[in-house]
Symmetry: C2
Subunit: 592 residues, 2 copies
């Protein structure tokens, strides 16, 4: 009875064209052969795996969940087998460099596979962060020791940042590292919120752990990064003794029950320093963008899967007499004939498209940053990715919750019954606004790190690109002109509040800016969605001249609906942005 997920391959393929990925990536020698064919083949293969292997265990993973006994975490039935297939197919490493055994594909391509895999099973989300960290910052010895089996998926990796007293603020971590024999370290401390900190799908788990060396500087500047394997590795590469690391407990969570969230105890565990001392947080940050986009993708994936379930239910459920329909016709009318049900479905579908374009483009910019061959390309990628990432993470993950909840509404009473499977999407999606930096932190990142980039010029360049898109549309059909005008209203308002914020920050009124951070990010996301919908509308209109008219005319409707009916909320945030800190701090803490 759970949602019968079918990967929206055509929508995904269209997304890669909307963001002009082929032209842009083909200029990079690594990706000179990247093509629509590759996208189609990859998504079709990924769909087979996701629909055939991951989706069928999604409900059972939710109902049974990961369990812990005597410090050993056991995955629900079917997960180990699914993981083996995942590993064999190489889905974990599709966008990792070929020289370390990865697929060598652009990061942008992993956007589509991420959506499909996460739509099928959100809990099945193993981060590739540890691989990147070792690859970027580890020694040659560490790379040859750990990377091959991590990349092949024979082992999995974790990121150990938080501690009970140190969540969003890592400056206060207490885990200690002390020099031991052979240049290794002894790691002691408790880490929390460790995703897949323990499980039984692989023989070994490689933990990346942030810890403090004796005498290191206070705060974030005194944090080092260590590799701590669950099972120690002998010199000949075989598995040796168990390390002194243990999963103490797993959290009982609202959702993603098949993703064990572990409390990890390091009790003099042997660890190996990555890179230089006290540079651990910096190393973590280098892979933050990828991880944050990935979490935004979970929001997209939840909504994308949920709307499929809702649409199917709406087509099947015969009920009521739609306004304007004769009694006779209404006898077999399913609820999808009600305007209000269509509004719910179209709202989700429109947002899903906008979310997808933003995520793909963000990853494309990461490709430019990482693999661009000239300074102009690299710096465009870097600045654009810097701005887009907090928006992708927060706007998409908030929408994932809102839209999964809307999908429940389409089901009526059946949506509230767990058996239907639709409620799981809301419960699973609710994690995404929280982890990898809460959405409040994303908003502060956008305000205080991204808005001031290159003295505000980076932001101006992005807004300039949106304006160029508007000008382009103004030279198009009547529909494009009318969409351009609507978009222009909200982009102008966004530029206006951006200037207001820049002025405030230059005046040192930082608290006023911090008070504006979340509504500013929401407004920015809503407007960027309109920008991408404008691009999609232009493309769909062009394509309409070729065959397959229905697909492209539907896309045009979706773009129009977004720009005319969803986008206008954007300007409603403006007055909250420019309201300043006053009201927020007028009330004493104890009076809240």
């Amino acid at each position: 009875m759970a949602v019968d997920y079918k990967a929206p391959i055509k929508d995904i393929v269209f997304g890669y064209e909307v963001i002009d990925s082929y032209n842009i990536l083909n200029k990079i020698s690594l990706f000179k052969d990247f093509s629509e064919n590759i996208v189609i083949t990859t998504m079709e293969e990924c769909a087979k795996f996701a629909e055939g292997v991951l989706a069928p265990i999604n409900s059972i993973g939710d109902q049974i969940g990961a369990v812990i006994n005597d410090g050993v975490v056991t995955m629900p039935a079917g997960y180990k087998e699914a993981y083996n297939k995942f590993k064999e197919a190489g889905w974990a490493s599709i966008s990792l460099p070929q020289e370390i055994g990865g697929g060598g594909m652009p990061i942008a391509l992993s956007g589509g596979t991420l959506e499909i895999l996460s739509s099928a099973n959100l809990a099945f989300g193993l981060s590739a962060g540890a691989i990147s960290a070792i690859n970027f910052h580890g020694s040659d010895e560490q790379k040859s020791k750990f990377l091959p089996k991590l990349v092949s998926g024979e082992w999995t990796g974790t990121m150990n940042l938080s501690e009970p007293q140190a969540g969003s603020d890592l400056g206060t971590i207490k885990t200690k590292a002390e020099l031991a024999e052979n240049g290794s370290y002894k790691i002691t401390g408790t880490k929390v919120w460790i995703t897949f900190g323990d499980h039984d799908m692989t023989e070994n788990i490689i933990h990346l752990v942030l810890a403090k060396l004796p005498g290191s500087p206070e705060g974030t500047k005194g944090i080092s990064m260590f590799i701590v394997p669950k099972i120690l590795i002998n010199d000949d590469g075989t598995l040796g003794d168990k390390n002194n690391v243990q999963c103490l407990s797993i959290e009982e969570k609202l959702g993603i029950h098949a993703s064990p969230t572990c409390v990890m105890e390091y009790d003099g565990a042997i660890g190996y320093l990555v890179g230089e001392e006290n540079r651990g947080l910096h190393y973590m940050f280098t892979m933050m963008n990828e991880a944050r986009i990935w979490v935004g993708g979970q929001g997209l994936a939840s909504a994308s899967a949920a709307v499929q379930g809702a649409a199917q239910y709406a087509r099947d459920r015969v009920q009521g007499r739609p306004v304007g329909m004769s009694k006779e016709d209404a006898k077999n009318a399913s609820i999808i004939e009600h305007a209000d049900v269509r509004r719910m479905l179209l709202t989700i579908k429109s947002y899903v498209d906008a979310m997808r374009y933003l995520m793909f483009d963000n990853q494309l910019m990461l490709d430019l940053e990482y693999f661009g061959e000239d300074e102009v390309t690299k710096s465009l990628g870097e600045e654009r990715c810097a701005i887009l990432t907090p928006i992708t993470k927060a706007w998409l993950s908030d929408l994932g919750v809102e839209l999964s909840s809307l999908a429940i509404q389409v089901y009526g009473g059946m949506g509230y019954v767990e058996e239907t499977g639709i409620a799981q999407y809301l419960r699973d999606a609710r994690i995404a606004p929280i982890y990898e930096g809460t959405n409040g932190i994303q908003a502060l990142d956008l305000m205080f790190r991204k808005l001031p980039l290159d003295n505000g010029q980076a932001m101006q360049r992005l807004l300039g690109e949106v304006t160029n898109q508007i000008e382009l549309m103004k030279n198009g059909s009547d529909l494009m002109v009318s969409l351009a005008k609507e978009l222009e209203i909200h982009v102008s308002k966004l530029s206006e509040v951006t200037m207001w914020l820049a002025t405030k920050m230059l005046d040192g009124q930082l608290v006023d800016a911090s008070a504006a951070a979340t509504p500013y990010l929401k407004m920015f996301g809503q407007v960027l969605g309109g920008y991408y919908m404008g691009k999609a509308a232009v493309l769909a209109e062009k394509k309409l001249k070729d065959g397959d008219n229905e697909f492209y005319s539907d896309k045009l409707t979706i773009c129009k609906f977004y720009i005319q009916q969803l986008l206008p909320i954007a300007s409603g945030y403006a007055s909250a942005i420019t309201a300043g800190k006053e009201d927020l701090f007028n009330i004493k803490a104890e009076n809240f």
Copy 2:
């Protein structure tokens, strides 16, 4: 670790003054002595019961839930004892008429107790609908046989409307009623979504069942209402044989686990016709307003309780360095010193106040409708209640979900852990937009039944009252003038789209109107919230001259925040309202 709920008595008492309840109710002879003292005493007593008895079993009710064995539903530990205290205190019947054993208080007063009881334990929600139905429409014999024990709480009542094929559309019910001996009937059929259809807290349960008599008209005009006791009652009033009614199963739900949602099987069960044949749906509708306001109240209650937990967590959790604070001060700074956390808390608090004023006023209008002694009063109550009810039901219940989710966000990672208790509010609140008529149905009700009332004059009178409030504020302080101006922008926009809709409906463009229903209701709710906040602001400013300045200056801040920072979203719905049906129906059902 669950939320330590304290009833917000002062806020509730203030609410009754905002809606001018004393002046209005004292004009009705039944309520001539209704006073702030009565409100305070009632809320204090209710708070004691809710905090001391209901809140402590809220978590266990969620974790254990109601269970069924061999057709018998057993409540979680503590619920039967809690129910006995609830019954003894008379909380179920506080607003029922004195002549049938109720408390004789205005319905408006039950708004405050509903908020408090539901905040403490949302699942503990037993509807009084069956009592009203029998009282309004039953025979004298039925009243004397069933009412005393229902009103005293010795028995509970249920409403049996839906069937598997008949949810939102009751015209298609199949349950049959056939005349049997002594003028009784035999009822046969399956009913679903029956809240507290079975439980072990009372000896008997009185079901009100909709069924069709042989040869009755098709559709909603052929439905009759029957009283079907779980245990038959002997002529001497003692309990007799078990009736042929059985709970087949209970639903596994996302939330309100302690509220058994039953599938009920009637297999030739003995039932008694209420009132006339084929008038059943009409009888149901007469008590629909109360029930729908009550569900809106559950949205309010969820948000009201959730923000308490979030505020307490935010005061306790020390983390991070708030923007603009010195490193030294930040060492002991809890997250409530972060502007963004304050924005989340103030957003919830502001909405909760607006929701409360709307609900209280809606109930006050119901008091005028039921108990008003002149035609002018009664018809004002009736028309105002007609318009406000769908808004109270839908706007409050949607906000209940959104704001409970926002409360989770304040907790960060801890919010996602069930142990904290905050996730339960989201899970519990999610039912309210669905039951007692989905929010989509509320929106259609507002559009097609309420907007055309008295040829649109009823709506104009309500909007006129909002305009009067604006004029009043324009003669006030600078702050009042500025709030009035903001409010005016959105009321004008609302009037504009209302006119557009009225014109469409006069032109017979009903599908365009139906397409606009949900955004229209959302916009209406947001603007009405602003109207009540305007009233509250005027009152708070006046009160500021007396003592207790902090409470009233906080209220003023809350009103200002709502009108300046939350209300502006309202006009963002306008273009969706006037967009018409086109986009929604441009896409084929199979393409969604």
